[in-house]
C-alpha cells in the first residue's frame, strides 16, 4: 500500500514536470513579445534588457529553462506584469474565491445527480420516468455552461430580480474569513453555485443511471430481492455497486469541469482563478497566466491521485501493487 502510494506520487510528479515543460516551450515558441506590454514608448535598450533579465527571459533557452524549473520547484512564479506584485499575492485570493463556488457546486451536482440517476436507473425500462429522465439530462448536458449561467441570470436576476448576478458583493472593509461570512457575499454565491450544480449534474445522473440499469439484472440483485428486504434496500445494493465506475469517472472529469467553471466565473464576473487566467492572457501577463495554468494542472493531478485512493477504499477487489 505504501509502496503503491509512493509510486503514484512519483508518477504524478513526472506528469506535473512534463506539463510544466510543455508550458515553458509554448510560451517561448509563440510569436507574441512577452515584453510588449512592459515596454513603454521610448524605453532605452538597456532598460529593456534589464527588464528581460528581471523576468528571466535572457540567456539561452537552456539556462532559461533551468531557472524556470528552479523557480517552480519552490513555487516562485515571479511578479505579475500587470499588477506589479508577486503572482502568489494575486492568485491566492482568486483560488479561495473559486473554491467557494466550485466545492459546493460540484458536491451538490454529484450528490443530486447520483441520487436522481439512481431513481431513473431503477425505474422500469422504457417507462416515462426513464425516458424523460434521460432526455432532460442529455439536453442539459448539451447546454454550454455559459448558457446555463445566462439563463439563470435572465430568470433570477433580471426577470424576478431576486438574486444578484455580478461579483461577490461589498467587502464592507472586512478581511479574512469575516469577508465571506456576511449575507451580501452569501447571496452573491447562490447563482454561480447553482450554475455549477446544474452544469455538473447531468453527467453524474447519466452515469449512475446506466450503472444501476446494468446492475439490476445481475444475479446478486435477484438474491437480494429473494431475501425479502425492502425495495429501496435492493436499489441501494445496485447504487452502491454503480458508485465505483462513477468515482473513477468523477475525479478525472474535474479536469473538464474546471473548463466549465472558468466560463461560469466570467458570466457572473466572479473574481476566481479562471477569470484571472482569461484576463491575464488577454493582457499578455505571462507570469500570471503561466502560474494560473500550472495550478489548474496540479489540481487535476491531485484529483486523479485522490480518485485512485478513494477507489481502493470503495472496492474491496482493488489490490494495490
Amino acid at each position: 500500500m505504501r509502496a503503491y502510494i509512493l509510486r503514484r506520487l512519483l508518477q504524478s510528479i513526472v506528469v506535473v514536470f512534463a506539463v510544466t515543460t510543455i508550458m515553458f516551450f509554448i510560451f517561448r515558441i509563440v510569436p507574441a513579445d512577452p515584453t510588449a506590454m512592459m515596454v513603454e514608448r521610448g524605453m532605452s535598450e538597456e532598460a529593456r534588457q534589464a527588464l528581460l533579465k528581471e523576468w528571466g527571459l535572457t540567456g539561452s533557452l537552456g539556462t532559461q529553462y533551468v531557472s524556470y524549473i528552479k523557480n517552480l520547484m519552490v513555487f516562485d512564479f515571479g511578479e505579475s506584469f500587470f499588477y506589479k506584485k508577486p503572482v502568489w499575492d494575486v492568485l491566492l485570493p482568486r483560488i479561495v474565491n473559486t473554491l467557494w463556488i466550485a466545492v459546493p457546486g460540484l458536491l451538490m451536482g454529484a450528490a443530486i445527480g447520483a441520487g436522481l440517476g439512481m431513481v431513473v436507473g431503477w425505474s422500469k425500462r422504457g417507462s416515462a420516468t426513464e425516458r424523460s429522465g434521460i432526455l432532460v439530462a442529455t439536453i442539459i448536458r448539451g447546454t454550454p455552461s455559459f448558457i446555463i449561467g445566462i439563463a439563470l441570470l435572465a430568470i433570477f436576476s433580471s426577470w424576478l430580480g431576486w438574486l444578484p448576478g455580478f461579483g461577490m458583493g461589498d467587502a464592507n472593509g472586512k478581511t479574512g474569513i469575516a469577508r465571506f461570512l456576511q449575507g451580501d457575499f452569501l447571496i452573491h454565491l447562490i447563482l454561480p453555485v447553482l450554475a455549477i450544480t446544474i452544469y455538473f449534474l447531468p453527467e453524474n445522473l447519466l452515469l449512475m443511471r446506466s450503472g444501476v440499469a446494468e446492475n439490476r439484472t445481475e444475479d446478486y440483485i435477484e438474491l437480494v430481492r429473494a431475501k425479502g428486504v425492502s425495495n429501496s434496500r435492493v436499489a441501494w445494493h445496485a447504487g452502491r455497486n454503480s458508485l465505483l465506475p462513477l468515482i473513477t469517472w468523477l475525479f478525472p472529469a474535474l479536469a473538464e469541469t474546471i473548463a466549465g467553471i472558468v466560463v461560469i466565473e466570467i458570466v457572473f464576473s466572479w473574481p476566481g482563478i479562471g477569470r484571472e487566467l482569461v484576463m491575464a492572457v488577454t493582457r499578455q501577463d505571462f507570469p500570471l497566466a503561466q502560474a494560473a495554468f500550472f495550478l489548474l494542472a496540479v489540481m487535476i493531478v491531485v484529483a486523479n491521485f485522490a480518485a485512485d485512493l478513494t477507489y481502493g477504499k470503495l472496492d474491496p477487489r482493488v489490490v494495490y501493487r
Binding site: Y220, K227, G228, V229, N241, P316, R317
Partner: protein, 360 residues
C-alpha cells in the same frame, strides 16, 4: 457432522420453526418477448410434503429454474404468471408486496448457483447474511452476527472469514456461504437451484453431503433443481421430470428412476452413467438427439414427439394429459402401458438414431 456447540437462544428459536407444505396448482408462466409470449411453463401441478425433498429434473431450458423463481416471485417485470402457489394454504402469487416481503426468506429461501456474482461483490459476506436476518427479525447486529457465525460453522467455514468479500472465496466456499445465507432464518422451504453445477465433482459431493446432513438435522421441505439424475437418486423422496414447460412424469424416486415409463425419462436415464451391480455389463450411454422445441410456437400433441423413438400419429395430434397410473405416480404418455417394451428397446442405440433421422 460437526454441529455448532454454542447455540444461542436466537438459534434455538429459529430452529423450532416448522417445515412448510407446498402445493403448486396449474402454474403457467409466459415471458414477454418482442416476438410474443414465450410459454416457459405450461400448466404444471405438484406438491412438496413437509420435510420431504422433491427433485425437479430436465435439460437446460425446460423451465425448471423458471418454476423455482416463480415460487418466490422473482421473475422479471412483465412476465405473466397464472395458477396457484400455496404455501401452507396461502397463495404466494396473490400476496401483497408487503406480505410477499415477509414470506421471502422467512418461509422460502433460495440456494442459487455459486457463480461469481450470486453475492454482492462489494459487501462483506457477514453483512450480507445479517442483512437477511435483520430484514425479518428485530434483533441487534450482535445477535445477528452470532447467528451468522453459527451458520458458518454449520456449513463448515471458519467464522473469521465472515469479514471477507466474495472474491476472496473459492467457488466451493462461496457455495457454502450461499447455503449459510439460505439457512439464516431457517425457512420452512428451501429451493436449491442447481447448487453444485459450477463446481468440480469432489466439491459437488462435499456440498451435497453437507446439504443432506443439514436436511437430516433441520428437516426442511426442499426442492432440488438439477439435470443430474444421480443427485436426485441420492437426495430426493419424489421426482418430477420436466420437458418443454410441462411435467411428463412424477412419482417416488425409487419407482421413477428404476422403472421410468415416459420415453423422455427413459432417455434421460440412459444418458447418465450410473453405479453398476456386481457383474452387470456397462450399458452404452445414449444421448437424446435433437433439442427442445421452440416454445414461442410449441409443437402440436405431445411436445416430445419430435424426438421420441416410439411416437405414433396419435402423439403428434393429441396432447397426452398427466395421468395417475398408480397411487402418487403419474405419466403423460399415450403409450405408458408399453413402458416395459420401451425400456428394453431404449437400451439399443439404434432406436434413438432412427428417431433422430426421422426428425432431421
Amino acid at each position: 457432522m460437526t454441529l455448532n456447540t454454542h447455540e444461542t437462544d436466537f438459534d434455538r428459536k429459529l430452529n423450532a420453526k416448522p417445515p412448510v407444505e407446498l402445493s403448486v396448482r396449474d402454474l403457467r408462466i409466459a415471458y414477454a418477448t418482442s416476438r410474443g409470449p414465450f410459454r416457459a411453463v405450461d400448466g404444471i401441478s405438484f406438491d412438496v410434503q413437509p420435510s420431504s425433498v422433491l427433485g425437479l429434473v430436465g435439460e437446460s431450458g425446460c423451465g425448471k429454474s423458471t418454476v423455482v423463481k416463480s415460487l418466490m416471485r422473482l421473475l422479471p417485470d412483465g412476465t405473466q404468471v397464472d395458477g396457484e402457489v400455496l404455501l401452507n394454504g396461502q397463495n404466494v402469487l396473490a400476496m401483497t408486496d408487503g406480505a410477499l416481503r415477509k414470506t421471502r426468506w422467512n418461509k422460502i429461501a433460495l440456494i442459487t448457483q455459486s457463480a461469481m456474482n450470486a453475492l454482492d461483490p462489494v459487501i462483506c459476506i457477514g453483512d450480507q447474511i445479517i442483512e437477511s436476518i435483520q430484514a425479518h427479525e428485530n434483533v441487534s447486529r450482535k445477535v445477528a452476527w452470532a447467528r451468522a457465525e453459527s451458520l458458518f460453522t454449520l456449513v463448515g467455514l471458519p467464522t473469521a472469514r465472515l469479514r471477507e468479500y466474495p472474491h476472496q472465496f473459492s467457488g466451493g466456499m462461496r457455495q457454502r456461504a450461499v447455503i449459510a445465507m439460505a439457512l439464516s432464518l431457517n425457512a420452512g422451504l428451501l429451493l436449491a437451484d442447481e447448487p453444485t453445477t459450477a463446481l468440480d465433482p469432489i466439491m459437488q459431493d462435499q456440498i451435497m453431503s453437507r446439504i443432506r446432513a443439514i436436511q437430516d438435522r433441520l428437516h426442511r421441505s426442499m426442492i432440488l433443481v438439477t439435470h443430474d439424475i444421480g443427485l436426485v437418486a441420492e437426495n430426493c423422496n419424489t421426482v418430477a421430470v420436466m420437458y418443454a414447460g410441462k411435467i411428463v412424469e412424477m412419482g417416488p424416486v425409487e419407482q421413477v428412476l428404476v422403472a421410468p415409463e415416459h420415453p423422455y425419462t427413459i432417455g434421460l436415464h440412459n444418458a447418465f452413467p450410473r453405479m453398476l451391480a456386481e457383474g452387470e455389463e456397462r450399458p452404452p450411454l445414449i444421448s437424446i438427439a435433437g433439442g427442445l422445441p421452440n416454445l414461442l410456437n410449441p409443437p402440436s400433441g405431445c411436445r416430445f414427439h419430435t424426438r421420441c423413438p416410439f411416437a405414433t400419429d396419435r402423439c403428434s395430434a393429441q396432447e397426452p394429459p398427466l395421468r395417475e397410473v398408480q397411487p402418487r405416480r403419474s405419466v403423460a404418455c399415450h403409450h405408458a402401458g408399453q413402458a416395459v417394451d420401451f425400456r428394453r428397446r431404449a437400451t439399443n442405440p439404434e432406436t434413438w438414431a432412427t428417431a433422430a433421422r426421422g426428425t432431421s
